[in-house]
């Protein structure tokens, strides 16, 4: 209520438009040119995507209006979301997604008791339960990973690689700061190796080379191979983000903790890490957003994530030529996810501003 009282009076919209965009002839000219450019791009896009688009029907023959043929997306929606996951079992994916959302919400709920312990435990349980729901076994019919696909696979790869990368990244960052030379060396080599190799190379090696060099009879699921590769790369990046946080910590914090008699793990776990992680949060979110987009690289080894399934569906002779629709749709979904994540991380930053 006091905030409203001290907020400065905002000038009217019309007035602001005038002063901000049309105050001088040059400003006016630039503004007009920009408006013209936006209209020139947005209008045809709007015409294609909405005004002349086709929404109803079931085959390409129903697309007669000249614009986008969203019928294609409609016909393939199940595949875009679940890949080749058997329709009768798709409730499991939905349930796994709900559990994921619930876990995310709980992790950021301040009322949770002993959050430092319960949050990691919650995630560990979630990873196990969701993996069981998706893959089956123990009472549920098995669904092979080659049947997974679409958005579900993109989210799976992002969440699993991301969640595995966080603890690994923290350990690596601590290792790199360690006073024990062997640990420091191992952590540094790991980080520099995985940071130095392009993700595409990692995925290729994991998918092509690994099966050739492994002993016969040993067969690691190819999705798992890609997942582990992704997780290692992201862990290396996360480690560097965490190291940034560790180095931004005033030295006095650790020294004071040590002076009060805390050992290494207590100092790290109770004093240093909580603050360092808060500082590195934006950088870590950044890595996670990058990861979401990087999961699309698995499509080069024929794992049908959202982008892969969009491309694969273009090979159906009944839908050949729907490139624009396929890419526009999958692009929009990626954008929605990444934009949502970045807004959310901004919200986290502003809502928990702290100083030490």
């Amino acid at each position: 209520m006091t905030a409203a009282a001290i907020r400065p009076v905002r000038p009217s919209l019309l007035r602001r438009l005038r002063t901000d965009y049309f105050s001088t002839p040059l400003d006016a000219l630039v503004s007009l040119a920009c408006i013209a450019a936006i209209v020139a791009i947005a209008l045809p896009l709007l015409r294609w995507a909405v005004i002349n688009a086709n929404f109803s029907g079931t085959t390409r023959a129903d697309c007669t209006a000249g614009g986008a043929c969203w019928v294609f997306i409609k016909a393939r929606f199940g595949q875009f979301m679940y890949g080749f996951y058997p329709p009768a079992e798709r409730w499991r994916v939905d349930l796994a997604a709900l559990l994921l959302i619930g876990t995310v919400a709980l992790s950021f709920w301040r009322g949770l008791p002993r959050r430092a312990l319960t949050v990691p435990a919650l995630w560990a349980v979630l990873l196990v339960v969701d993996a069981w729901l998706l893959a089956g076994g123990f009472g549920l019919p098995r669904v092979e990973t080659r049947q997974w696909g679409g958005l579900m696979l993109t989210v799976f790869l992002s969440v699993y690689a991301g969640v595995l990368a966080v603890p690994l990244g923290i350990l690596l960052a601590l290792g790199r700061q360690s006073e024990l030379p062997v640990i420091r060396l191992v952590a540094t080599i790991f980080i520099e190796f995985w940071r130095g190799v392009p993700i595409i190379t990692v995925i290729f090696l994991a998918s092509l080379l690994l099966p050739l060099v492994m002993p016969a009879g040993w067969d690691i699921d190819r999705l798992v191979r890609a997942l582990v590769g992704l997780a290692f790369v992201i862990a290396a990046y996360m480690a560097e983000a965490v190291r940034g946080g560790l180095q931004a910590m005033p030295k006095g914090q650790g020294e004071a903790a040590a002076a009060s008699g805390l050992g290494y793990w207590q100092t790290t776990g109770l004093i240093v890490l909580p603050q360092a992680l808060r500082i590195s949060m934006p950088a870590m979110t950044n890595e996670f957003i990058a990861l979401v987009k990087n999961t699309s690289l698995v499509s080069i080894v024929s794992i049908f994530d959202l982008l892969g399934i969009a491309q694969a569906s273009l090979a159906d002779p009944n839908w050949v030529g729907m490139n624009m629709e396929a890419y526009a749709f999958s692009g929009a979904v990626y954008w929605l996810i990444c934009f949502g994540l970045s807004r959310w991380s901004r919200h986290l930053e502003t809502s928990r501003k702290t100083t030490h």
Partner: protein
Amino acid sequence: MTHLARGALGAALLAFGADAAGAQQLAPSPTLDAIRARGHVECGVHLGLPGFSFANDRGEWTGLDVDFCRAIAAAVLGDANKVRYTPTSVQQRWPVLQSGQVDLLSRNTTITFSRNVTLGVNFQGINFYEGQSFIVRTSSGAKKPADLENASICVAAGSTEERTAADFFRERNIKVTIINFQKNDDAIAAYDAGRCDSYTAGLGALAGQRIKLKTPAEHLIMTETISNDPQGPVTRWGDERWQAVVRWVLNGMIAAEYLGVTSKNVDDMRANSKSAEIRRLLGADGGFGAMLGLSNDWMFNAIKQVGNYGESYERTVGKGSPLGLERGQNQLWTRGGILFTSPFQ
């Protein structure tokens, strides 16, 4: 050594020899054993090629190459649906086959000397004679590449297609104008817009491109090709019996078309046909399936559930499909094509 002992030894040797011959007839086949144990065929396919290998709206793999995987499953396991597909990219196909992740590749792969010899793989026949051809407007009247005198042809600059086409016309002293574009998509768009009289690419690619044109029905894909890219299923070296299974299921599908056996009449043919070859093909006589270590109705199942080669072709890439490809070279040798099979004798 007494005569008696010598005779006994001889008999033992003879028995051993007969045994060895019997064993040789049914050499061990780890691949077949593995397929039976796991209950399905592992088939490497293209990750998405219109008409040849793609997942339809219901998520089922379909296409000419996929049909062959299905025929193998029907022949070996009696059920065409017992296949699991591994979609593969160009880079993936060989490692996936070599490392044993798939039992066979059925994936638009051109048979070449160096692949056969250096990669440790065998091609088991030809299921599609691919080759570079031309698409023209029906109204132009051109029916074969030699008719393209004075025509303009859109190609992607620096592509194999550009070189092959240029060589073809130069060697025959046919004057054409080749118009270069940065990318294939640009070249086909220019052709659609009327900037050139023709566009050139492989048959399969042309068929996929034709559907994207404004009015596909006004365009003709020439059946005569100017390059030679035979494609067929591939297996690893070793396991000769498995290789024979793959080779003879393909032969059997082609033979079935030659002999007039279709998925519709196959029951009747097995029961009533007088033709010795049909009876052997369908397992009524001869016990050919058993010689491969399969059940004698191996080809009966394949034809009943998948169809003969012609049925599969028409359904997936031919007139019964949106691609609408002519049979062209992929017609039986008795009907003007070069599609050939060896006899079931």
